[in-house]
Amino acid sequence: MATCKDCKGFFAREDDQDRGDCVMRVTDPRQAYYKAVPVEADKDASKCSSFRKR
């Protein structure tokens, strides 16, 4: 099962390797930005449309 920590967009926290940020590039009709969502490293990512294997 693919998990968040297997994804290129996952960056583990220094103080807690079991958690981290899912960082994504977003371009909306007006601006471009990087977005971060906190995730668990072992979260199931098999249904994540943004998953990019490390």
């Binding site: 960082v23 601006q31 471009a32």
Partner: protein
């Protein structure tokens, strides 16, 4: 050589645009690439003519995160329960860093999202469910989330709880929508903030909280006595403050972490990488510790504003950013030369943009009353320091210059004029007005400081720290001066005073007995009888609003709870109370906002002259005409409009009546008391309430029909009725005392952009401002866009997206306001000066 030619071409094209007064294109051509990107990147959050722009969606991540923890902590003290829920939001809400940006923080999980505060008012929650266009896809799923949320919060919101303790008759009359508006809860509110205290840093405040808790715990272990009993309630409040302050620090650290990740793994441009590392360093520093430079002070400030708005709908933005950030600008730009002026201007411009992009859902009635904006975010500039010396600094100038570059309609500025303001600063104010921004509004500092001392007894040194609490009302930013809640929910639709006096307290529009029965006007012997009825209706209208807000204020800590605001309020931290608890030393700074005020004087004058003095018409005829909405009485109506004295023409007949009305209200303002046992003075102004109430105020003897816009200002003459020129307007407005006859008085004026061009234009305006100051007026604001441009913008809105106008206590993009409001602005008299 090539570069120099290009620059010359650019300069000449800018000159041409300036000559054509196409200021929005001037701004586009002169601002930095960064500001251009950030300005164009903003999603418009203000409603356009009452509806949200395409693409704007309500944020559902925020309430879902909040409710998860809220329900987990059910049964705890409300402040503690809310603190847990807020901390969970701050730890988990998606954050983002926009390309080119340097200031972090947003309320919501994506730039096109707007948030709302479902703990406030059930009716608003239901309105969102039914609002078209803002429900995120997949809609069915979103509607289910909203339905569940509504089911849970129905009956539990702050206003639902308040409604259960309100007098039912008061509640029905208030909910009719006819007599006033407002939400007597800090769920829809605004608060003054004391940055002298906040800039100590959250860690220092946490240490203070810790100390208080230890002292208290020690007392609780001591001799049992009635004195220690209240201490038990303080501990959870302090704990709540700790939770949100720590969460605030972690929220900033999340941005620091993202910025470092981007610098290390994503960014290839070395310059931007440096910026990202600086952002990381800034967010690691603030709000935990005091700021050391301009970027840190702006970032600290913005984090505090964002955190406050995660807690509640703060619909105004009481602030004095030039005063707060000026010393950091001076250190970075003038002393250490760490920043160039251009770099500083980028930060200041972005500060305006980050504020402008904040969006919070407002119900339809509020969107109509505040067309085109999210809230009245009037930032205070200039003024004096507590010792009375000039407080203007380089940041005052930088904000004015940045405003002309980014041209946002929100925030706007109110400038505290005083006799020691330097000419270079006055020129900056004028340039903003000349560029058609509609701001800064000009405020008379000596008058307003005296007014603040007069009405509430704030010490003069504290009064001198004042900021605009919303559009107009000054409030000190001190420990006991700060106002934690929107007391102005006592917002009166004043035209009802004369309408009820003429209808025996009955409201012919909503068909309900509202005010006291003051008698059939046909039986009044003379004008004094009518005036007596007006006084009774005025007192009734103020009383019902004031007692509702007083009750809402006292109950707010029980019904809503403000852990974050309490954590940044020195007096709340010291006493372990909710910031909104009036018993913690709040000196009081309440006021009744008076919408649709001037109609009273014009209507009373018309009846006095035609019915009682000249006996040209009987009261019976007047009432018949009003009841017919003037239909079939057009000649008589025109007589009332054209031949009865009108406010704003230096005519003592009507001006004396205005003064008499104000003095009656002032007397009553001292009889009404707020929970801190202080006064409730009147503050006449309108935002766009003059349009909102057009269909709720019946025909009046000043000649308006049901449906017509009411007058636009607080003391502005009726549009087109000021026939004697600008000095006559000022003279009328100078006939009452702006210190003792009320809290503040909004005056709109339209000036001619062609007449005020060049140096001559500045000198004309300055001379006008001298007369204004000499007459002791407290406020004036200007529109300086010609009719032709406004008409062209109506016809072809796409081409005129950036035209800004002053609506009332705020500015808006002209194309975002309704046709009726647009027409109302065009109707205002263009004053020729000189």
């Amino acid at each position: 050589m090539g570069q120099s030619t290009a620059r010359t071409e650019k300069e000449s094209s800018v000159e041409e645009l300036k000559n054509r007064r196409e200021w929005w294109f001037v701004a586009e051509k002169t601002r930095s690439k960064r500001l251009d990107y950030l300005r164009k990147g903003v999603w418009k959050k203000g409603a356009i003519g009452g509806n949200y722009a395409p693409g704007i969606k309500i944020d559902l991540t925020f309430p879902q995160l909040f409710i998860d923890k809220w329900q987990e902590h059910e049964g705890e003290a409300i402040m503690l329960q809310k603190a847990h829920a807020l901390a969970h939001v701050l730890d988990n809400i998606p954050i983002f860093i926009t390309d080119n940006s340097q200031i972090m923080g947003y309320i919501g999980s994506a730039p096109h999202n707007i948030v709302w505060h479902w703990q406030g008012i059930s009716m608003v929650n239901e309105e969102i469910y039914n609002e078209e266009g803002i429900i995120p896809e997949p809609e069915e799923e979103s509607l289910e989330i909203l339905a569940n949320l509504n089911d849970y919060w129905g009956g539990r919101t702050a206003v639902d709880k308040l409604a259960r303790v309100l007098d039912p008759e008061d509640a029905v009359k208030f909910m009719s929508g006819a007599i006033g508006w407002g939400t007597p809860t800090s769920a829809a509110t605004y608060s003054t903030k004391d940055f002298d205290y906040i800039f100590k840093g959250f860690e220092a405040i946490l240490a203070e909280v810790e100390e208080r808790m230890e002292e208290t715990e020690e007392k609780l272990q001591g001799n049992p006595s009635p004195e220690i009993l209240p201490l038990y309630d303080k501990l959870p409040r302090w704990e709540a403050m700790q939770i949100v302050l720590e969460a605030g620090i972690r929220y900033a650290e999340r941005y620091a972490r993202l910025a470092r990740t981007l610098a290390e793994h994503f960014e290839s441009d070395p310059e931007r990488r440096e910026e990202l590392l600086r952002i990381a360093e800034t967010c690691e520093r603030v709000p935990a510790k005091p700021p050391r430079n301009l970027q840190e002070s702006l970032q600290f400030d913005h984090f505090v504003q964002v955190l406050s708005r995660y807690e509640t709908f703060e619909g105004a933005w009481p602030h004095r950013p030039d005063y707060i950030h000026g010393p950091y600008y001076d250190k970075d730009v003038n002393q250490d030369k760490r920043l160039s002026k251009e770099e500083a201007l980028d930060l200041v411009g972005e500060h305006l943009i980050r504020t402008h992009e904040v969006g919070i859902f407002a119900p339809k009635w509020a969107r109509e009353g505040l067309q085109g904006i999210t809230g009245t975010w009037v930032w205070t500039m200039g003024g004096v320091k507590p010792d009375g010396s000039d407080a203007c600094n380089d940041m005052t100038v930088a904000y004015m210059q940045a405003a002309r570059l980014v041209r946002v309609s929100n925030p706007t500025f109110g400038f505290r004029w005083h006799p020691k303001v330097k000419d270079e600063v006055m020129r900056e104010c004028f340039e903003c007005i000349r560029h058609g921004l509609g701001y800064p509004s000009m405020r008379n500092d000596p008058v307003l400081v005296a007014n603040t001392v007069h009405w509430y007894g704030h010490p003069v040194e504290e009064a001198r720290t004042w900021v605009h609490q919303a559009c107009m009302s000054p409030c000190p930013t001190t420990k006991y001066g700060c106002q934690p809640m929107r007391m102005a929910s006592a917002t009166a639709n004043c035209a009802k005073m004369i309408e009820y006096a003429l209808h025996d307290g009955y409201d012919p529009v909503v068909n309900m007995q509202m005010g006291p029965k003051t008698g059939d006007p046909r039986e009044f012997k003379d004008f004094e009888d009518l005036f007596g009825a007006w006084v009774k209706q005025m007192e009734w209208l103020r009383n019902i609003l004031v007692r509702t807000v007083n009750l809402g204020r006292v109950k707010d800590p029980e019904f809503f709870g403000r852990p974050f605001l309490s954590a940044i309020y020195e007096r709340a931290v010291e006493t372990g109370t909710d910031a909104c608890d009036p018993s913690n030393g709040d000196r009081g700074n309440a006021w009744v906002t008076g919408f649709t005020w001037v109609e009273n004087a014009d209507s009373l004058a018309a009846i006095k002259k035609f019915v009682y003095d000249e006996k040209k018409y009987t009261m019976d005829e007047v009432l018949d005409a009003l009841n017919a909405n003037w239909v079939g009485y057009e000649e008589m109506r025109l007589d009332f409009v054209k031949n009865a004295p009108k406010w704003g023409n230096d005519d003592d007949y009507v001006d004396d009546l205005m003064v008499r009305c104000l003095r009656e209200v002032s007397r009553h303002s001292k009889e009404n008391r707020c929970p801190s046992n202080n006064t409730w003075p009147l503050l006449p102004e309108n935002v766009s309430g003059n349009i909102h109430y057009a269909n709720l105020v019946g025909a009046l003897p000043n000649g308006r029909r049901l449906g017509d816009a009411l007058y636009d200002g607080g003391i502005s003459p009726g549009p087109g009725l000021d026939k004697k020129g600008p000095t006559a307007v000022l003279k009328s407005c100078g006939k009452f005392d702006h210190v003792t006859d009320g809290r503040a008085f909004l005056l709109n004026q339209r000036l001619s952009p062609t007449q005020l061009s060049g140096e001559k234009g500045y000198q004309l305006w300055k001379a006008y401002m001298k007369t204004w100051a000499d007459l002791g007026l407290d406020h004036v604001q200007f529109n300086m866009v010609d009719d032709a441009t406004l008409r062209a913008a109506q016809k072809d809105p796409e081409k005129y997206q950036e035209v800004i106008v002053r609506v009332a206590g705020y500015s808006a993009h002209f194309v975002d306001i309704s046709r009726k409001t647009q027409d109302n602005i065009i109707q205002r008299t263009v004053q020729g000066l000189g």
